[in-house]
Amino acid sequence: MRTPRALRPLTESLATVALGLVAGGLLIWAFGHSPVAAYRALAVGAFGTREDLLETLAFATPLMLTALTFAVGVRAGLFNIGAEGQMYLGAVGATFVAGMVPMPAGVHLAAATLAGMAAGALWALIPAVLKAWRGAHEVISTIMCNWIALHLSMYLAINFLAEPGRAERTVPALPTARYPVLSEESTLTAVLFVAVGFALVVYAYLWGTRAGYELRLAGENPDAARYAGVRPERVVVLSFVIGGLAAGLAGASQVIGRPPAWSLYATLGNVTTLGFDGIGVALVGRNHPVGGILAAVLFGALAQGGRLMEYEVGVLSELVRALNGIIVFAMAVPELWTLLRRRLAR
């Protein structure tokens, strides 16, 4: 029986997961542990109980959003690796509104969420404008913007958002601006639904509207898109803005949607690398919003399940990280291959 065309990416991804796990298993075995016991612990630690499952989803939440940032870029033919910086600004924006601007319940949570998304989108506009009208390559400009965002965000956090007496972090979000914790057993909050909802909205937009179609067309075949009257500047700005909204929401989710700190660390320690991790997640999820959700759950499982693997089987935490890397690598290969082929063919 032939696999339906729509499911091919899924089967390909599953095959590479299997390959990655086998390679990771060899590594675990080489270090003198039993791969079977290790993977059992990984699975049990990630999905074994309700609270583990919820914690896995808590780790997955920001990743599905930063994956979306990269995925939308790729769909529009862009290498947007600026999720990291956009996410920082999103966290700062959310912290400001959530922690320093009192508002009635309900409105406050929405305002803080939107502030985070808007801050992320505004930051994404810089490389977008540079690309659309000056032709600056987005890889260079987003990398530069990431560094500027890092230092700008730390400056803002330390100078304007700090909590007196708690130098390590900013003021916490006021109780009116916190997503409800779903269960005391984990750090998962209702922000998960917002993240999934946003990913689905983006999916509907890209595959169900004219503007979304134009965006994808520009990514698939820029010449055909131009011939069809698609304005490339519009596509660039649109994809960056959608990506910035997603990254901003990811940053906000770690401040107003993750106990127990409910604030941004002055070192940005509770958000750093989530943007970069999103690139791997997007590749595994085949640059599809829904695929990104599934891939994010897988990454969340590695983060949460790796804990038990280390605890029970004694697999070193470095080895757990290496395993992450191997799986990412194995899963990213088909997508990278497609991307490279497309670039080379051009």
């Binding site: 100078n159 127990p260 949460q304 804990r307 605890y311």
Partner: protein
């Protein structure tokens, strides 16, 4: 298929009829402790490594088993503490460093049967603020240290060296300006002034009067930016400071670099200039140039906590102390001496060189600057090159603190810091420190 409900029922009945007491009658469970690091992790040669060392000491002396959970990101704190608490054999969970305060307060509430300890944390005050009905949580203990007393000792040491080498200043490089660091700052300055009074009485030939600009000090606004430590220390050594106290964690490496430059340009094999280590025994980092370290024994905290849990004293102690136990100089807990602050000696250098050896094995990077034997001999030579009265005076101050003949001010509030700076030396803050202040403060 139809028989399945019957089968399920049979199994359920069989299970229900099994003797329930079987598991509880089993041999006494093994006693495990769990140490959860902050993001510094293994190999930081400071807080986390010392906590793990304390766990190893407890394994050796109390027959417990330690499990280590290294936090890779801040989001790991709660899940790591939770993972440890869910292990039925774990009786004590230690969170290392103040960053774990929020997480400890949350997880300790969820697992009332487990004992939780935070090193340098303020988890109980978070409980008080957020869940005042439950304060103090009976299973949660913050272990804090008398840094002001240790800082007074090294402040005195610095001032005595300044007298010996006829230098006009000592220095202090601080991290982010938080109340905990005020304890170090005022302790250090107070100790320096105490030394000038001691000199006037005991060594009039070397005596000088304490001036308010005697201690040079800078809040760098960072605990991670090593070049800022270098820049601050360089300026102090340029003003001829005899020793600079590191109160900014890794910035000590920047101070060391400033010392190393002077040592190389003047072909020195030994200080002055010196620097003063903090938290761990850092004397081995540059043997001959680190005169001593103000040790905050994180390892002792883990060790004592394990003992208290083993002896069944833990909860009683929490009740009597509102959950905050202070380790320092001459501190007694539950009738036994439980100290956590001291100035490094030659004898405890070995333990910390071992820590360096272990870090080299873990990180596969060069950590120790020379062979352990060579380090030890260099430190010994440096210590012996200082006149005996210097060490005697420091020992005298320690004895006086221990016996309560003198009281080192412990400063943690804004009015207090203003007052003591007025008395011991005030200078407009550095730009960074001023910039750090939040608008509401």
């Amino acid at each position: 298929m139809r028989s399945r409900p019957g089968l399920v029922l049979a199994v359920a009945v069989a299970l229900a009829l099994l003797p329930q007491a079987a598991p509880t009658q089993a041999a006494p469970r093994s006693f495990k402790i769990a140490v959860v690091s902050d993001v510094g992790g293994r190999g930081d040669l400071s807080f986390n490594d010392m906590a793990f060392k304390g766990g190893e000491d407890a394994e050796r002396d109390f027959g417990v088993r330690m499990v280590e959970l290294v936090s890779k990101v801040e989001a790991d704190y709660v899940p790591n503490l939770t993972r440890a608490a869910r292990d039925p054999d774990v009786q004590l969970i230690v969170g290392v460093g103040f960053l774990l305060s929020d997480a400890l307060a949350q997880v300790a509430r969820r697992f009332p049967d487990k004992n939780f300890v935070g090193i340098d944390t303020f988890a109980q005050s978070i409980v008080k603020e957020k869940f005042s009905a439950q304060y103090p949580l009976p299973n949660l203990m913050d272990i804090v240290y008398e840094e002001h007393k240790g800082s007074a000792l090294v402040g005195a040491l610095g001032a005595l060296l300044a007298a010996q080498y006829a230098k006009p200043h000592i220095g202090g490089v601080f991290g982010i300006e938080i109340p905990v660091l005020w304890k170090f700052e005022i302790g250090y300055k107070w100790g320096a002034r105490w030394a000038t009074e001691w000199l006037a009485k005991n060594r009039p030939d070397k005596a000088f009067t304490y001036r308010k600009d005697f201690v040079l000090w800078t809040y760098t606004g960072t605990f991670s930016d090593i070049p800022k430590g270098y820049a601050a220390a360089k300026a102090m050594y340029a003003k001829n400071a005899v020793a600079v106290y590191n109160i900014a964690g890794p910035l000590g490496l920047g101070i060391n670099q400033a010392v190393q430059e002077i040592a190389q340009s003047q072909k020195l094999r030994m200080g002055p200039p010196f620097w003063i280590g903090v938290d761990a025994n850092q004397d081995w980092i540059n043997p001959g140039f680190v005169i001593a370290s103000m040790m905050k024994r994180v390892d002792r905290g883990v060790y004592y906590a394990t003992r208290w849990v083993r002896d069944g004293q833990f909860r009683d102690l929490v009740r009597r102390t509102q959950g905050v136990v202070t380790l320092g100089i001459g501190t007694r807990i539950a009738g036994q001496l439980a100290e956590g602050i001291s100035v490094s000696t030659l004898d405890d250098l070995d333990e910390f060189i071992r820590m360096g050896v272990q870090a080299e094995r873990l990180t596969r990077k060069k950590v120790l600057p020379a062979s352990p034997a060579e380090i030890k001999s260099k430190v010994k030579t440096m210590r012996e090159a200082q006149p005996k009265w210097v060490w005697d005076a420091v020992a005298d101050l320690e004895k006086k603190i221990r016996e309560g003949q003198v009281t080192v001010p412990m400063v943690v509030t804004k009015p207090d810091i203003e007052r003591w700076r007025g008395e011991l030396g005030y200078r407009p803050r550095s730009f960074l420190a001023a910039a750090y202040r939040s608008p509401q403060r």
